[in-house]
Structures are given as C-alpha cells and as structure tokens.
Symmetry: C2
Subunit: 404 residues, 2 copies
C-alpha cells in the first residue's frame, strides 16, 4: 500500500523512520508492504535518504489514486485542515496526530470520512505514544458507561512541574530548563496555560459523549501561578501538584470539564506520571478505574502511535468506533464544580488559626500555613477566602483544587 | 446475535449482567442486539431472572447453529478445554477469561479458530478488567519491537502485599484478611506462589514472541517469604515490594522470564499499583515505556473485558492479531539473569559492615541492616552471600531482587 506524508518535521520524519525500522513487524500485521510514495514539504532536504520522495504540490498526492492513505503531520488547523479534507474527498484515509485539527473540525472530518468509506484516525492527538484513543473507545466507551475521565496530557507542563517537585526549582527556572532541552517552546503559552491539554480533554469528552465538546467553553487555568511553596505545602498535606484535565459525565444535564493545576494524592497512580510522560485515567460503571500511561511526546513514540493507526486503517478499514457528531454537549458552568481545595496563607500570629482543621506549617517557611477544606463550589470558596481574609493578620496567598 | 455462556459463576453471571446494564452502548457499537440464548451450568438457580436459559447439556449449545459465540467461564483446562474446542469446531467464536486454558492450549485453539474462520479471544485472561491484550497486541506488538514486559498481574498477592505495606501487617495476618474478604481462596497457593502470575506472563510473552512460552519453564518464587522487616528496609532504601512478572526479549537467543517478589522503586508507576489492581508495563523500541492499569479481578471489571471481546468478535470478525504458534520460545536459564538485589542481615557488631556501601539501619529493628548490591547473576549472589556469611557475627536473612 502506498502512502504520503504531509510535513517532514519531527513527527513526519518519525513516521518514515518507524515504518522503516519496524517494517518486519508491521508487514506481518498488515500483510502488505507500507510504502511511502511522497513526502510533502515546502522545505528542501538535500542529502536526506528520502529526498527523492519530496514534493511541494499537494495536488500531486491528491491526484494519485495509488496513494490510499495520507499522514498529516503539518500541524495547526489551516493548511492541515484543507489538505485533510481534500485527501478524504479524494477517497484516501487520513492518520494525524493533530489535536488542534481534531478539536476544531473533528465532527466534520469524521462524517466526511464515513461518507467516503475511509478512515480518519487520530490516535497520537492525545497522549502521544500511549495506545489510548482506540483502546479507550473500543474497550470502554463501546461497552461501558464512562462516568469520569482525567489525565495529565501535556508533557511540557508535566516536565516543568516535575522539575519543581523533585529538584525544588522555581517555575521560571524549570521553564528555562525545559526550553533549553527543547521540551518547551520559546513561547510556552499553549502548554503552560493548559490550552493544549484542554483541546485533548475536548477530544476525549467528545469520544465519551458522542457529541462535540467545544474546547473554547472549557475552563482553563495555567500552571504559571504554582510556586515552590505550593509544592512544599502540598507535599506536607500528602499531595503533589499536576496540570490535570478532568471531565465528569453528569447524566443528561451535561459534563463538567476543566484543565487546571490540581493537587493529586501521592498514593494516586497519576501522581507517578512524571517528566514528559502522560497518563489518562477513566472510571466506567462496570470496568471500574483504568489508567493508560506512556510517552506524551517525543518523535518516535508519537510516530509509533501514528503508525499503529496506519496498520488499523489497513486491517480494519472503516469499522472503527471513534465517532461523534457536531451536536454540542452541554459544558456545565465551572463555578458550580465542587472540589476540595488547599488554602495557603501567611499569618502574623498563629493562634488565630487555632480553630482551623488540619493546618500544616513548615519550618522553612515561617509565618505560612496551609490546609485542605471540604469540597465546595467557587462561590463558597470566594466566601471562605473573604472570611479567612478577615482574620487578624492573615492573608490568603493561594487556592488550589484537589483532584479526586 | 445469539450467544451462550458456559458456567454461571462470578464471571459468567457478570457477563450476563454487563450485557444487560450496558446494552445501550453495546448495541450502538455492534449494530445488533447481543442475546444470551443459553447458560450452561450443572447447578440450579431457582428464582434467577435468567433461570429459563439454563441448560445442563453442552450438546444443546453445540448443535444450535443460531448460537454464533460462546463465553467460556467454567475455568480450569479440562472440561473448559473440551467445550471450547467443540464450540470452535462447530463454527462458533469463543471469548474466555481463562488463563489456565490459554496458557496450556493457546496455540492449538488459536490455530483451530483460524482454520474455522472464527475468533478465539481472551482479553480478561490477563489483567482482569484492564483493556490490555488487544491494545498491546494491536498498538505495540504489531508495529514495534517489544524489548521487555513486566507487570503486577495477581490481585490477591497484591492485596496481601499492600496490606503489609500500608498497615504493617504480617504476611499471615494479611492473608487471613484477604481470605475473609474473599480476595484469597482457602488454599491461596496458586496466587501467592506466583504460579497464577506466571501463566499470565507466559501468555504475554507468547503474544510478544509469536511462539509458545511454556509456563512450566518459567522461574517462580512465592511471596510467602516476605516479612514486615523486608518492607521496612525496602522502604528505607526507596523501594516497595511487589509480586512482579518480568520478561526480557534477548534477540534470537530467547527470553528471560521470572515471576517472583521484587523491590520496586517508589518512583516507578508500578509502585502505585495497590490493592487488587493490576498493572502491565512494556518497553518498545520506538514507543518507549507504556503502562496499562486497572482492576485485576472482580466480577464486573472482568466481565466488562469479556464483553469487549464479544463486541470485537462482532465488529472485527477474524481480523484480530493475537496469534502465536506451538513452536516454543527458548526460556533462558534464570540463574543467569542479572538483577540488583537487596541483602538483609543481622549483625552483632555493626563495625564489621563499615566497608559495605549504602547500608541502612532502622531503630525499630536493632542489630539488623540492609543494602542494595549492583546487578549480578545467581551464582555471583551465592558467592556474595557466602562471603557475607563469613563476616564475624553476620547472618544473611533475606535476598530479594530489584525490578528495573
């Protein structure tokens, strides 16, 4: 089978590499050779072993009926969207790791692929190299009632927070280190603001509900506000801090959805998802809790997930179950979500906190304290913070949700 | 589509229940109703809502061409083996959670199903409710070179060890508690001796290598020898203790395979697999590390996995990739496996241990110490233990491998 790769960047070249190094296993599975016929890129790659496959005109790929499948690795949702649509219209299956494309145009592309009898697969758009979307869709969404999902789905943020947690770095130091290592971009906003993770949450919620979960309506809060002190107090209370996405299915009324920093109990499996790893957690009525864990980013892990989609497209044709419509699922107002919260304060005289349950202090941070309050809504927290602010000499420095 | 369930015990009745409570989702996926036509059991179930489906003669099911699929939930590898074989011969697909059957007769039943053009699926035979075998086979074995696998695959042992770890219970106390709760059988040998986990390791190694990994040739050691002191010292060294299965693919020479208690670093995701949960870890050349986590046992989780297989059988017919032949993979001699080890000793005079690296002591256990030695083979450990035994007043009390 002949395929084309659009975009010869990190993932595009990774797909070519994985197809090459793992060709024995892949051919055993697909029962036919997967051959890259074209690579589309506007740049030149002199000396590259695949130089001869380079084309700069998408029309060549679109018009070649031998090409049965296209890997979209351009990114973004402008040119990528146009080319993917044209490829499907031309009767070609598409595999893509592009979460922006799927979050923005999923229902349209899914419906179009169905109409044309081809596959539109996007395994690597969430969780990088983790076998996630397909197992979750086939083994849980298809046979169980999913009650809630959660995850650590942004490798960059998780690397930064892991550095802060294990090496006591400040946010700024950890970000700088991540940029030096190429884990964070020069403008890290999409990652640290939780916008990237939010798009991935929208994809997973769409899979679960069968309806479009509009990422623009999902509450996001960034990790920039997390400090070394937050980590110290969270730890003293039995937690670590992670950028978490959380979705809860609330019957027919809609879904709760939020992407933000959360305290995670140290005993919870998500707490050991460190560095650039990702973890996805789900609870089903009969399946109970499951977690998928693996490399959330990286050239070869992401490319491996794309290649697993290529094999799926060859072996299962259009019998896959990933599907949702353009009808929107109701995203409930985030102000009403009820979570336990860590309150961190400074004080002048500790005796004013005597009536407060579970207060911890840390020698390293004099005149500071933190505790966890029972689950409450945003309005209740605002009231609580006002009450605490009225205590003599007490200032509320931080409020962070507890994942559970 | 009409199906039959063989055995109306915990899993068999769970399958009927999951098919009932999740029927909306399942029908959406399979595009046809799944109807239980017969339940085979030698016992009577007066008053059960499904009483009318009970039959005691397998011949009725075998001879009914309307029955396209059989769920085998009898257990063991005698009657279950006979009925599964007869069902496949009669052109029916089979879904089973029966690891004993798969470990003993996998290649024969896989080949027979292929010949007859039906499915033989066994998702729940490893990892209970975790979507594991299919995702691992499709997304990793099929497209990558698996280098190693590991897992915590026995819920009973894991419950016992978690009780010892978190509540400081002795092995005997923890086993008694597990028996009271129904997590351990009156004769817990199969679970605590690592024999059960060993069969699951053999299934996963067979999937990876495409050849039969004979469970009888895999080294097993039980968890009965683990004490509260082992936990205390492992913890002081930065580890917990788990019943681990470990398989390493050593090129064409064969595989390393062992099921035994291991120290697991507290920072490793497998360390948070507690209670009756299971975790499966794998490393692929391009995918990197992945972990699947979920309920290792329990009526509804296990039944959910069986039901996901039923949906697979309906949707994908015989295009699934789980397959291995009866040719045996060479299981390398366990004496040559190289692992770091924790040595725990008693001493009369601590000064004799002065030259030893990384020794820890614990106030609660006077005259006791432990440390971790670099990776070495069994013969090297025997030598080392002999050398330590020659130190004045020192007695070696325990030697345990470190998972890595």
């Amino acid at each position: 089978m002949k395929i084309a790769i659009l975009g010869y960047g990190v993932v595009g070249s990774g797909v070519a590499e994985v197809l090459h190094v793992n060709r024995t296993q892949i051919t055993k599975r697909t029962k036919q050779e997967i051959e890259v016929k074209y690579i589309l890129d506007t740049r030149q790659f002199p000396g590259d072993p695949l130089e001869g496959l380079m084309v700069s005109d998408f029309g060549v790929i679109e018009g070649d009926s031998e090409v049965k499948l296209v890997v979209e690795a351009i990114g973004g949702d402008t040119i990528a969207y146009e080319f993917v649509k044209r490829a499907i219209m031309a009767g070609k299956s598409v595999c893509t790791p592009n979460k922006a494309l799927v979050a923005a145009h999923g229902p349209e592309l899914i419906a179009l692929a169905r109409e044309k009898g081809v596959c539109f697969l996007f395994e690597a758009s969430v969780g990088g190299g983790i076998p996630l979307i397909r197992p979750f869709a086939d083994a849980m969404v298809a046979v169980d009632e999913v009650q809630s999902i959660a995850g650590i789905l942004n490798g960059t943020s998780n690397y930064i927070l892991t550095q802060m947690s294990t090496n006591g770095k400040s946010y700024a130091e950890a970000l700088k280190r991540a940029q030096e290592l190429g884990y964070a971009e020069q403008d890290p906003t999409a990652d640290v603001s939780s916008q990237d993770a939010c798009r991935k949450l929208s994809i997973m919620l769409s899979l679960v509900t069968g309806k479009q979960a509009d990422y623009q309506k999902i509450k996001t809060e960034g990790i920039e506000k997390i400090s070394a002190q937050d980590f110290a107090f969270a730890n003293a209370l039995g937690f670590t801090l992670k950028q978490v996405v959380s979705g809860k299915i609330c019957g027919s009324s809609g879904v709760e959805a939020i992407a933000a920093p959360f305290l995670v109990p140290l005993s919870h499996p998500l707490a050991t998802v460190n560095d650039v790893y990702n973890g996805f957690w789900a609870t089903g009525k009969t399946t109970g809790n499951i977690m998928f864990y693996g490399s959330g980013a990286g050239k070869l892990p992401t490319a491996s997930a794309v290649v697993s989609n290529i094999a799926d497209a060859v072996c299962f044709a259009d019998s896959l179950s990933y599907t949702w419509t353009s009808e929107e699922v109701n995203i409930l107002p985030w102000e009403n979500y009820s979570y336990r919260k860590m309150i961190r304060v400074s004080y002048e005289d500790k005796s004013v906190l005597e009536g407060v349950d579970g207060v911890v202090t840390i020698g390293q941070y004099p005149n500071c304290a933190a505790w966890v309050v029972p689950a409450e809504t945003e309005a209740e927290t605002v009231e609580r913070v006002a009450r605490i602010g009225e205590m003599a000499g007490v200032r509320v420095l931080q409020v962070l949700r507890v994942y559970e």
